[in-house]
């Protein structure tokens, strides 16, 4: 396995406040990698910087060997990264089908068969394909956000808290889909608050606290209650 995504000394700031204070991490080709940490640790900032929505102040992000830090989001999508953003962010006043078409915006080839396949994977979306996305339930919107991201045929899928605010059954469904996608060969970099679920599916995880990676290892490397404590509360010295 080699590093598909390699982040070195990444600093992203909002004005004078540094949200990322020199982050180092790697996502291996073909893995599910998980990033855990308490609220305000900088997880979403890291995702938004990797997707090109936020500009880093310094540091490097290499994807499949090429430097992508500071490149515009559409170029990063073209390179093969898609982000399923926090709180889903579907296009609420567009139909489900138009949402999927928007996800395929850069594709020049025929993507009708992709939509067919996604409709098999997400039958609820097929039932509601002509409905406005804003009228879907939270879980359905999350499915749609994932499906939209897949329309660009990413090599790396970034997911920012896909289980946030969803009922336990829907969370299980989301994680089942994550495992399926991984089986199809998509590498996944996942931000989660739900450490228990995340540790079940991930091959590697990072703990992030106050803008820095404070622990890195495989799911057995740290007792789960210790991980959960730090993921929710931060370490005691903080």
């Amino acid at each position: 396995m080699s590093a598909l995504l390699e982040i070195r000394d990444l600093v992203t700031a909002y004005g004078k406040i540094e949200a990322l204070k020199g982050v180092n991490l790697e996502v291996q080709q073909g893995s599910i990698t998980c990033l855990l940490g308490p609220n305000g640790a900088g997880k979403t900032t890291l995702m938004m910087t990797a997707a090109g929505i936020l500009q880093p102040r310094s540091g490097s992000i290499r994807f499949a060997g090429a430097e992508i830090a500071g490149r515009p989001p559409h170029a990063i999508v073209a390179g093969g990264i898609a982000l399923v953003p926090e709180n889903r962010l579907v296009f609420p006043n567009m139909t489900v089908l138009d949402n999927l078409h928007a996800g395929a915006y850069q594709r020049k080839d025929d993507f009708a068969s992709d939509i067919e396949r996604l409709f098999i994977r997400f039958p609820r979306l097929k039932e509601r394909s002509t409905q406005l996305a804003g009228t879907l339930s939270g879980g359905e919107q999350q499915m749609l956000a994932v499906a939209r991201a897949l329309m660009s045929r990413p090599k790396l899928l970034l997911m920012d808290e896909p289980s946030l605010g969803l009922a336990p059954l829907v969370v299980e469904e989301i994680f089942r889909i994550i495992v399926q996608l991984h089986g199809d060969g998509v590498s996944i970099f996942l931000v989660e608050q739900n450490a228990h679920m995340a540790l079940k599916v991930a091959q590697h995880f990072y703990l992030m606290e106050q803008g820095k990676v404070t622990f890195s290892g495989t799911p057995g490397a740290l007792a789960e209650d210790e991980v959960i404590r730090r993921a929710y509360l931060g370490s005691a010295k903080a």
Binding site: A51, H74, N93
Partner: protein, 290 residues
């Protein structure tokens, strides 16, 4: 009396379709960027002046002048977008608006430097006078205005709902960050919308100056005011509203000019806006542009 009503309504409808086009251009920019472009009218004025200059120098034909007006408006519009709107994308809406006011002044100074007379003749759309239908008089210009408005609205509707560009525009209106994440080049879409709006505005400008057959530097302010007024009457931000607002403005102006005199015309139009703003009916809330 009935004849007057019919005649005024037709004249108002024709002028109203030119206002509707002005408002549609305004609304495209406002709907997508949520920014007011005060330089919208002045950019149209620059296009009209470019065409006037061509006609003074070469006595060009009217379709060529239409092309020059639209091209001039689009170039001036691109200049406004680059200077006022592209740098303030994440910043303050007020900053963009004030910057566009500065360019308005710049445009007015520039055209009066190149063409210093207060008033220039613009070649008429048609040499012939109005057509008589019994007791009613139809100006052929009015029919062209009406036809242009209908065609442009149909084309825009098709573009926004059926094309790949329209998909991108709707996505940007709906959720700009999600549009970026979907791989849409948002700055490019915004520039294209701006250029499209300027082209529609340029067409409206040509319709108006070749009907009134004269051009003054006041045309810039006039176009911004009429476009803004029609957009606000129609309820800020929807294309359908812009069309309704433009036609309503044209009708109100035509009738009040006839029955109350030319001085009352603008008074009544602003009174209408005042009443609508004070009353604020449900359809006057900000809507999406599609």
């Amino acid at each position: 009396m009935i004849l007057d009503l019919i005649q005024n309504s037709f004249d108002g409808l024709a002028m109203g379709s030119a206002y509707a086009l002005l408002a549609v251009g305004f609304t495209l920019v406002f709907g997508v960027l949520r920014r007011v472009n005060l330089s919208y009218g002045p950019a149209i004025m620059v296009g009209c002046y470019a065409a006037t200059w061509m006609s003074v120098a070469f006595h060009s034909n009217m379709l060529f002048l239409l092309g020059i007006t639209v091209l001039g408006s689009v170039i001036a519009g691109a200049y406004v977008e680059r200077l006022c709107f592209a740098p303030h994308r994440q910043g303050s809406a007020i900053a963009a608006m004030v910057a566009s006011f500065a360019l308005w002044m710049q445009f007015e100074e520039a055209v009066t430097l190149v063409m210093p007379k207060h008033l220039y003749d613009f070649p008429p759309m048609f040499e012939r006078g109005p057509l008589a239908f019994g007791p009613l008089l139809l100006r052929p210009e009015a029919l062209v205005m009406l036809a242009c408005a209908i065609v442009i609205c149909a084309v825009l509707q098709f573009l926004l709902t059926r094309s790949q560009f329209g998909l991108a525009v709707r996505a940007v209106i709906d959720a700009p960050v999600a549009a970026q994440l979907a791989g849409i080049n948002v700055p490019r879409v915004l520039l294209l919308v701006f250029l499209l709006a300027s082209a529609v505005g340029g067409l409206a400008g040509w319709l108006i100056v070749s009907t009134y057959t004269q051009v003054t530097p006041m045309l810039g302010m006039w176009s911004t005011l009429k476009g803004l007024l029609a957009m606000m009457i129609g309820g800020l931000g929807s294309l359908r509203g812009a069309i309704v607002g433009g036609v309503a403005l044209g009708l109100v102006e035509a009738h009040s000019q006839w029955f109350l005199g030319p001085q009352a015309r603008d008074l009544i139009a602003y009174l209408l806006l005042f009443v609508l703003l004070a009353w604020r009916p449900r359809w006057m809330t900000i809507q999406s542009a599609s």
